[in-house]
Amino acid sequence: MTAPVPALSLRSAGLSFGDRVLWSGLDLDVQPGEFIAVLGPNGAGKSSLLKAVLGQQPLSAGDLLIAGLPPARGRHRVGYVPQQKSMDAATPLRARDLVALGIDGHRFGPRRRSAAERQRIADALEAVGATGYADAPVGLLSGGEQQRVRIAQALATDPTLLLCDEPLLSLDLRSQRAVAGMIDRRRREHATAVVFVTHEINPVLDLVDRVLYVANGQHRIGPPGEVLTSATLSELYRTPVDVLNVRGRVVVVGTPDEPGGCTHHDLTPADPGRRPAGGDA
């Protein structure tokens, strides 16, 4: 049996700005249906990795292929879910229209959406449980509702690879679980590969197959149980770091970028407005 084409493939990939190496020698194949979380401190290059995949940031070294294609040509195979951000209340779009823009928003000139496309939009909204507010203005949706619509938007094109950039940030616990669950269901049912950049591993800890941890210009790739250990992270940070498992949650203590010394992945000083997700079981 021949191996399927990886949804995302990085070969000796590196990115540096001047002397500053964000990451280098990155070899990664994300298989169809695989769920990979990208972790690391602020400024480690997690977002730059997404930019590279989206073709917005050329690599300094190595190769990157999306479903076997270079980023410029493979881009239409990628769905993208950004951070939740409040939208102007007077935005003249309904939830349905935001999803539609995911399908044809990049096309110039007037066109009429086909019945098949309209059905695809309705199906995508149905799949994330957003049918009830499909005709509500996007500016009036709650954060959780908006992220569901964003997932519908990203999935309406039936992507091979789903890129998520902190999609759970600023959501309440219930919405975090719901949104993570939708992404998980999608990759199981449609074999969509998921690359999920996050500060906080706990809401998706039980869903991810592998973790890519980036810090100090280095990285480790492997199952969460192998990467999120005191030994591995101490090596990566070049300082003693303790990884504790507390009631099913992973808590990382002593990373140098977090001066308080004791913090977990869901309490990062750089995001003061964020609600700590306490009591996650």
């Binding site: 007077a90 003249p92 509500a136 950039d165």
Partner: protein, 292 residues
């Protein structure tokens, strides 16, 4: 009161302003549609800034004996180009506009004070004029309108995407910078049209108020531009029809109609907010829940 309303020779007057009515209707369509993007891109201040430079261009043309239409288009496009080039980010943009605007207005005042022709021509550039549209100028207005409307038709969807959802639009490969410059140039052309009909001071009443009113009552991407256009056409054409009856310039009539429409839409939106949108319940639980 006679200066405000006197409809005795209305039929004859109507024949005289035939061209102006066509121009106003065109301006309504252009202003109502481009206003949608002025609103979603938060460029109200840019409209005002461009209109002052358009005024300066028109005043220069008046002084030099050139075409006022051409002058106002050149002034607008120059201003739009500068704003688009120097001010891609919103903060930079506002300071660039704040710097350009008084300079443009100052230049315009200078040109007007040097001009020794009819006083009505001077005043008209600031507050609009009814019978100023001759056939040559109407040709200009139609030409510029066609360019703006064609440009909008081509750019509409990508421009909406990059304006309301910039991250995802960029992820789909849309060029934000180029679209921004292209839109600002179209905006410049639209403003130059408006300056020639309603005058530099009141351009906002046709490029901002109608869309702002429409956005109050609908979030439909089809209905919003449609309503905005209807509001702008009603304001512009209605303003001329009312202004005919007196010696007052058209702008107070245009602004009053447009403002009244806005007030009505606000009232509707208050009612709308109470009655709610959609059928969702906030506590709704999705079918799939993460296994904890």
């Amino acid at each position: 009161m006679d200066r405000l309303f006197d409809f005795r020779d209305y039929g004859e007057l109507l024949g005289l302003v035939h061209n102006s009515l066509i121009a106003a209707a065109l301006l309504g369509v252009v202003g109502g549609l481009i206003g949608v993007f002025v609103q979603v891109r938060d460029m109200q201040f840019a409209v005002h800034g461009i209109s002052e430079l358009s005024f300066a261009g028109a005043a220069a043309a008046l002084l030099l004996g050139g075409s006022v239409a051409l002058g106002s288009v050149l002034g607008s496009v120059l201003a739009a180009g500068l704003i688009g080039w120097l001010g891609v980010r919103a903060r930079d943009r506002n300071s660039v506009i704040g710097v350009l605007m008084p300079f443009g207005l100052g230049l315009g005042v200078l040109f007007l004070s040097l001009y020794e022709g009819r006083a009505a021509n001077k005043f008209g550039l600031l507050t609009g004029q009814i019978v100023a549209v001759d056939t040559v100028r109407l040709g200009w207005l139609v030409g510029v309108s066609v360019v703006v409307l064609t440009g909008l038709a081509l750019l509409w969807r990508p421009l909406m995407f990059i304006s309301v959802d910039p991250e995802v639009a960029a992820a789909r490969g849309l060029p934000a910078g180029l679209l921004s410059i292209a839109f600002t140039l179209l905006l410049g052309l639209a403003v130059s049209l408006a300056v020639q009909v309603v005058g530099a001071l009141l351009v906002l009443s046709l490029l901002v108020t109608p869309a702002a009113a429409a956005f109050r009552v609908t979030a439909s991407p089809v209905l919003a531009p449609l309503l905005s256009t209807v509001f702008a056409v009603v304001s512009a054409v209605g303003g001329i029809l009312l202004a005919l009856g007196g010696t007052i310039p058209i702008s107070p009539f245009v602004t009053t109609i447009s403002f009244t429409i806005y007030l009505v839409c606000r009232a509707v939106s208050v009612y709308r907010r109470h009655s709610g949108w959609g059928t969702r319940t906030p506590e709704e639980q999705p079918a799939a829940v993460a296994v904890p």
